[in-house]
Point group: C2
Chain length 931, copies 2
């Protein structure tokens, strides 16, 4: 709690003289209407007229709450000079420890006092900026003070001009959806999909659009200001107030304190804009929140489009972009899911025509396989692997190759589609011209400010050089080292866990093989696979939470300068950790399992005498598939249902309990609560990053290993349909209203998506080439097969082993298990037979197939990348009609100003000369000059 130790408040003795002052003088005298406020419990001041645009909350000590509320300005200057001189004496490092020696209680009082004065100063400042304030201290909610802020019309105008907010002008123009035919088709589609549209105004096709222009008081005549109350929406008002809050600073403290620092140091506990009103109950007037609740945040509407325009109007662009993105993603998953299901069904349909699995299942092919483990296992017949082979075919057939190419292109299409959608939204929301950030969004974080102050103090004590202090790499070095070490350590932990699960699997398998019960033996594989996958899943979910917290902690350690950089660094760390966590077991299964086995007679042993596990006969694809399936389903079910629905409810309950209100009483009180009090009990908005992160990991699951699991898009689709409404419910009912922030795009997430879809290409290439048997089958069919079919493929993939070459004490304990003496057993590999010149060396076929696999990877990767780039190039980023509209809008603006210009010139010349201006008459009708 650095804020307690390092900031020295003004001593109590200096503050005493003001004690007797009357409370709450700083508030502007309001014509407060003290009649029962039943009708106006919405977000209004007590007068029921002025809207509350923003609320700051703070703790008040009941006992001393009234005593200290004063602010005589003649005292302020004195206090200021005193504190300054005090600060000067405090600049010796020894003085820093003083407050800790002081009595704990007094200090608490100091701090409360200090906070109180800072609040007062801050409030005075806000008033100077033109804002109107109203205070509500501990009336309904004990111990909490509310500072309600209202921005009057002239402040709104001024700030809108500074922020270059684009507002609709009076000028309207017709929006044309391309040519007549296109327009008719659009209308028809709209009519057909009528039931899919939410019942909000904006879902109708709009044929006119207001021309938007950055608000300017000098050009007020351009805008339709007839209804000043609704000209700026509640979202805009609150973001304007937020802008003012950010700009307001306290300089009387040791270092400049903005609202961030004030929040960080506990002077205020929270700052949030208010919801528009109630979502249910008889008292609820129609408001945007209610509409959203009814037309968006309900599971029964899962098949409908989202009212993106309304979401934007209520929550701002950033949140709306998230939901729009989620919507596009879900929509794009539909074709992917359909194709995936078809591919899966194709696998099901062709399973009986599949020659390799037929050969395995044919008992006439009397193939004796080498034992799967040392000593405990014995020789086995290939025909017993029949079931696995048939199941493998479901996921390992030529259609899978097609599907992974399809999904790579799908990912590109998705990105392109999103880019276009984003462009369209930018146009509709008039963000096209506005700059990426507002004029002053990059305020320093309070942590950073504090660290800089610390450094300044240290430096001032050592040298008197008065240059601007900032955190350099040297200051951050310890943090960087910690981060690097922790990240590597956590990745190592993940790998170790995977390895642990592998060991678990090996040992359990051996143990089960040892057991004499035959039913156990037959279920060995299934049991081991599912328990291992289950363990993996649970570990992944637990580690996910740990990694999330860890990433945040590491980022705090790093002390980034601005909120933006904090967010970026946090996302980066979280992404790496969560991604590694989710995908390490899958990557192990896909690329390492079964590769490092060695060969009979020369197995590879780890940790003493554990033999590395082999894959089932038909490749590891089957197990990869099971793992993916369990991870995806389990993660979605547990994380969604438990964490996203359960935990917020729990938290809410906890928060309520804190205020120590009995449920009965609460219900009573609730009816008299004002909006700001209701919102106070909602959860704070923590940003969209967790939501995005979840989706990105899912996107990874859908694209990265899609070659092994064609049903992934279907699962993702089912999850997302719920996810949208779940998030909607959360935003509308569970959370405080987020501050509306302007955003033109989804930022770093887009790059992550792009990166993932690039990685997906190469991963899928490797999965097809190395994990599946696609290439060996192909090579066999076209090179080695005597008749051009796959007949004899199984025999071709199996090498011979002479049982006399077993290493001592590894031969099976029961060599006669199959009923006959085995001299040669078979194993899956391409090696020369024992009777060749180079026994057990890799054969020519091995190298040829390896070359084919590698060649496939190169061709697949480059072909798919080329196709993706081609699609990227083919589809224009800006939809044609939008670019036309934008052109038109520009032309209209020039028009408008030329007209205005002429008007001015006209009036000027009329005034100056009073002469009949003949040629003008023509010009006014047509803004472009004619000849």
């Amino acid at each position: 709690m650095w804020r307690n130790d390092n900031y020295t408040p003004v001593p109590v003795s200096e503050k005493r003289p003001e004690d007797g002052a009357t409370p709450s003088i700083p508030l502007k005298p309001l014509n407060v209407d003290e009649s029962p406020q039943v009708k106006k419990l919405g977000p209004y001041f007590h007068d029921g007229l002025r809207r509350i645009d923003y609320v700051l909350t703070y703790h008040v000590q009941k006992a001393s709450g009234l005593r200290r509320q004063s602010s005589r300005s003649f005292m302020r200057s004195m206090r200021q000079s005193l504190s300054r001189s005090f600060r000067r004496t405090r600049q010796t490092p020894e003085a820093q420890e003083d407050p800790e020696i002081a009595a704990q209680e007094h200090q608490l009082d100091y701090h409360e006092d200090d906070k109180h004065f800072r609040r007062e100063e801050f409030e005075e400042n806000l008033r100077e900026m033109g804002l109107e304030l109203e205070k509500d201290e501990g009336t309904t909610v004990p111990g909490m003070g509310f500072l309600k802020i209202h921005a009057p019309w002239d402040v709104l105008c001024r700030e809108a001009e500074f922020m270059k907010l684009k507002m609709p002008t009076r000028k309207m123009y017709e929006v044309k959806q391309g040519s007549n035919i296109v327009e008719k088709i659009n209308l028809f589609i709209h009519k057909v999909t009528e039931p899919l549209h939410p019942k909000v105004e904006e879902s109708k096709i709009q044929t006119v659009k207001h021309l938007c222009y950055p608000f300017s008081r000098e050009r007020q005549h351009l805008f339709d200001l007839s209804d000043k109350d609704s000209f700026f929406s509640s979202k805009t008002r609150s973001s304007i107030v937020h802008e003012v809050l950010k700009r307001t600073k306290c300089t009387r403290t040791k270092y400049l304190m903005g609202i961030n620092s004030l929040l960080g140091s506990g002077v205020y506990t929270s700052a949030f804009p208010l919801h528009d009103g109630e979502i249910d109950g008889v008292r609820a007037e129609p408001n945007d929140r209610k509409i959203l609740y009814e037309e968006w945040a309900s599971y029964s509407l899962f098949y409908k489009y989202q009212p993106i325009g309304l979401i934007r109007k209520y929550f701002g662009e950033k949140v709306a972009l998230y939901f729009a993105w989620l919507g596009v993603y879900t929509q794009m998953l539909i074709p992917a899911a359909i194709v995936g299901v078809i591919v899966f069904l194709y696998g099901c349909a062709t399973v009986d025509d599949n020659i390799p699995s037929m050969e395995i299942c044919d008992p006439r092919n009397n193939i004796t396989m080498c034992p799967l483990c040392d000593r405990a296992c014995s020789y086995w017949k290939l025909v017993t692997a029949c079931g696995t082979a048939r199941a493998s075919h479901l996921f390992d057939n030529p259609a899978t190759v097609f599907f992974s190419i399809f999904m790579a292109l799908w990912a590109t299409m998705f990105m392109e589609h999103w880019k276009r959608r984003q462009m369209r939204l930018n146009y509709i929301w008039d963000l096209a011209g506005c700059e990426e950030e507002g004029l002053s969004t990059d305020h320093m974080r309070s942590d950073y400010e504090f660290r800089v102050m610390q450094k300044t103090l240290r430096r001032e004590s050592s040298s008197s050089k008065n240059e601007k202090v900032k955190l350099t790499c040297t200051d951050r070095l310890p943090a960087y080292v910690t981060i690097a070490v922790m990240m590597l350590f956590m990745i190592a932990v993940t790998v170790a866990i995977v390895f642990g699960v592998v060991l678990y699997r090996i040992s359990i398998k051996t143990a089960l093989h040892m057991s004499s019960t035959p039913t156990f033996r037959s279920n060995v594989r299934a049991t081991v696979k599912s328990t291992a996958a289950g363990i993996n899943l649970i570990i992944i979910i637990i580690m996910d939470e740990i990694y999330g917290a860890l990433a945040r902690w590491l980022t705090v350690l790093e002390v980034p300068k601005t909120d933006k950089s904090f967010e970026e660094r946090l996302i980066f760390k979280t992404f790496i950790l969560k991604f590694v966590n989710a995908f390490t077991p899958i990557v192990y299964l896909a690329f390492f399992r079964g590769r490092l086995v060695g060969r009979p007679g020369k197995y590879l042993y780890v940790v003493g005498n554990y033999r590395m596990e082999e894959c089932a006969h038909a490749g590891c694809l089957m197990e990869l598939c099971i793992q993916l399936c369990i991870t995806m389903l389990g993660k979605q079910l547990i994380q969604n249902n438990l964490f996203e629905i359960g935990i917020p409810k729990l938290k809410k309950m906890m928060r309520r309990r804190k205020t120590k209100l009995a449920t009965q009483q609460e219900e009573e009180l609730k009816k008299t609560w004002h909006q700001h009090e209701k919102d106070h009990f909602l959860g704070p908005f923590v940003g969209l990053n967790p939501e995005y992160m979840e989706m990105i990991i899912q996107f990874g699951m859908v694209t990265l290993f899609v070659a092994s699991f064609p049903l992934a898009p279907l699962f993702a689709l089912l999850n997302n349909v719920i996810e949208i409404r779940l998030d909607a419910k959360k935003f509308v009912t569970e959370l405080r209203r987020p501050l509306a922030s302007r955003a033109k795009n989804i930022g770093i997430w887009y790059n992550l998506l792009r990166g993932l879809s690039k990685v997906a290409v190469i991963v899928n290439a490797f999965v097809i080439a190395f994990t599946s048997d696609f290439i060996p089958r192909l090579v066999y069919q076209y090179t080695y097969s005597p008749d051009g079919t796959l007949h004899g493929f199984i025999n071709h993939t199996l090498s011979y082993f002479n049982v006399s070459d077993f290493q001592p004490s590894t031969e099976p304990l029961a060599p006669m298990h199959l009923g006959y003496k085995v001299t040669l057993c078979r194993y899956k590999d391409y090696r020369d037979p024992p009777w060749s010149a180079t026994p057990y060396q890799f054969s020519s076929e091995f190298w040829a197939i390896l070359a084919a696999r590698l060649g496939f990877v190169i061709i697949f990767q480059n072909a798919v990348m080329l196709m993706s780039d081609f699609i990227d190039w083919l589809i224009p980023d800006i939809p044609k009609d939008i670019s036309q509209q934008m052109q038109k809008e520009k032309a209209l603006l020039v028009d408008l100003f030329m007209k205005e210009e002429r008007g001015k010139k006209h009036s000027r010349s009329a005034r100056n000369e009073q002469s009949p201006s003949l040629p003008r008459s023509r010009l006014n009708s047509n803004s472009q000059s004619t000849c």
Copy 2:
């Protein structure tokens, strides 16, 4: 000449009444100072005060020139209505053929008249827009009329406001180059590199910068308007006039005619801004052009930085960006050239330690090779290939692999460096906030307008539906088909040419082998290689010109809508054709030559009985290298010197001859020429695309096959050092001043560069893996070699051939050439020996090495791509100091306006209440509110 047939001018009879009118009435009465204009031959009106901002030229018929100069406005309206009614009657398709029946002479007269009237109308319109005009018809230059345009102050202000031009305000602020230490280092570097900086003002480190803000007449007080003449630079003035010209339209014609259409239909012949003044001679006043000529456009300054700021000031952002890019590219080539030379020297130094070439050159290794051609050639000893093997080592050694990785990363670094440089320039030039395009740059091309008009006419005759007509895909289909066919055909031609050269090489080689002269025989390889490369070079250069013209023709066929789209399509086509042209021979050499040879006894034959050519023993890398070297050097020398220096001079001479002035007279006259007359005789500016294209092809040469030719960057560097000054000279002295166009980046070229550097990675991977012997050597050393060295490598690469297996009539005519009977000969391939079970089949080594090659490609490609992406991610696109400055600038702007705001409020309150405003005094000193 569609303009002659389709626009029907007003008949002569209707125009006659005006014949007697006095000439040049439309000119505003000027206080023309008719004193000898020796002093003011610069770009001024006759009054010597008003600057000529733009010039339009047109042809005047001497005979009828004076007769028709009239413009009584009372006649105009009558004429207008007449032509309108006439037009209405003309809308039947039959009427369209009428003018062609009329007598040729009359028609010419009609057209001249018609053009004249259009000019008059256009000029009247310009005057209405506020521009001031002056005419100069056939005075100095016979047959040419000059319309000189001057934009007065209020027009400049108005347009600057529309165009949102950012102009410097009075407010200055200090620019800090990072911390103190960084600043000192920068200063030191600047001092050290002092002699490298051009002697212009801007090359000093600037410590203050004017805050820039879009010009606004309402905020005039912000700007320093003390010198109204120089507030807008000549470049800005001309682009403002151009903006007005583009917006001005003629509506009295059949379709709207902007300046583009007027130029396209020959009403005006050219439109250009004027140079600032003379570059030499005694009369030359100091001007920017002269400074540029002295401090930039000179070969003797090749080692200096370019005065980019001045270039931008004079030529505008687009041209300056080209030169800045070229500068960055050249600068970045320095390290690449150095490393390339080191790699080459490493090859030279290690040539004697190279075991494979030692083994080849060792006569004790008595290896008999199979004949290189059928019948004519005989067996040969490997030791004769000693020279080639040693030379090959220069370009085929491990350092080459390092170098191609280096160059791939170099390309990424170059892109990043350029992005940062561009960002820095954007900041310095205050382009950061401005939108990509001006308000109305996307005007239609006249060709497009004409085609649309044609279509409208056609449609109007068939149906009366009056919707907006535009060119659809159906209209363009014939053009698209033509383009596709032509492009494919031209690519086929290129491939055919390469194949022709191959055939030439094969036949010449055989012929030379046949010849009995021994000196001929020994020089066979060298002769063939160099003549073939020479032929290739000449064909490439010729085809380059043809393809350039072809691409333009195809693009014209396509009738793109806007200039921007025309440019993009043209670039796209030119790029494909020129690229294919330049790289097909190289690609053939690198990847196809020597692959499709077959084996002794089973060679591959093409076109009758030509055996496909083999590579020299040490791989094709050597020949690839020679080809690259000749192409690069030859192309640069011939294209630069001949085409870029010679042809423009020739053209200039031709243009002068046209005006039929004897040289003597010309010199006399030249002295009295005004600036616009001088500029008229300069070549028109045709855009930067040819310059960029040349550089892109060079960039391709430098990056794509750098693995085979490490000296490429050095050659490119030498070329570019000259290229910069050559282009500079051309721009300053040979060409008319280009219209300054705003641009924030180099547009499509950046994407092409990115694409090339991506392709380069995979091409280099293949060159190293397949063209060079790097991988076989590596595999031999670490797998097959008995002692871990390369000893025995040569023997390993050679397979055995039993001479009894020759196909009939292919065995050599002189089998005893070497003096002994040969039973087994060797050839370069990995095949099983004749005595194995599978004779002449690819051996296990072949497949192992193939797998290694492919594996290398995958690893190389992905590793280099990953590294590139990492570098891309690591280096921020915006330099840190620039982003800080931009932040600061934003804050300063907010500050400025808050202050202004307070000032306003203050004065308002002072006016309204006349009360002492105590709290304000503090606020004025600090713009941020304090507490």
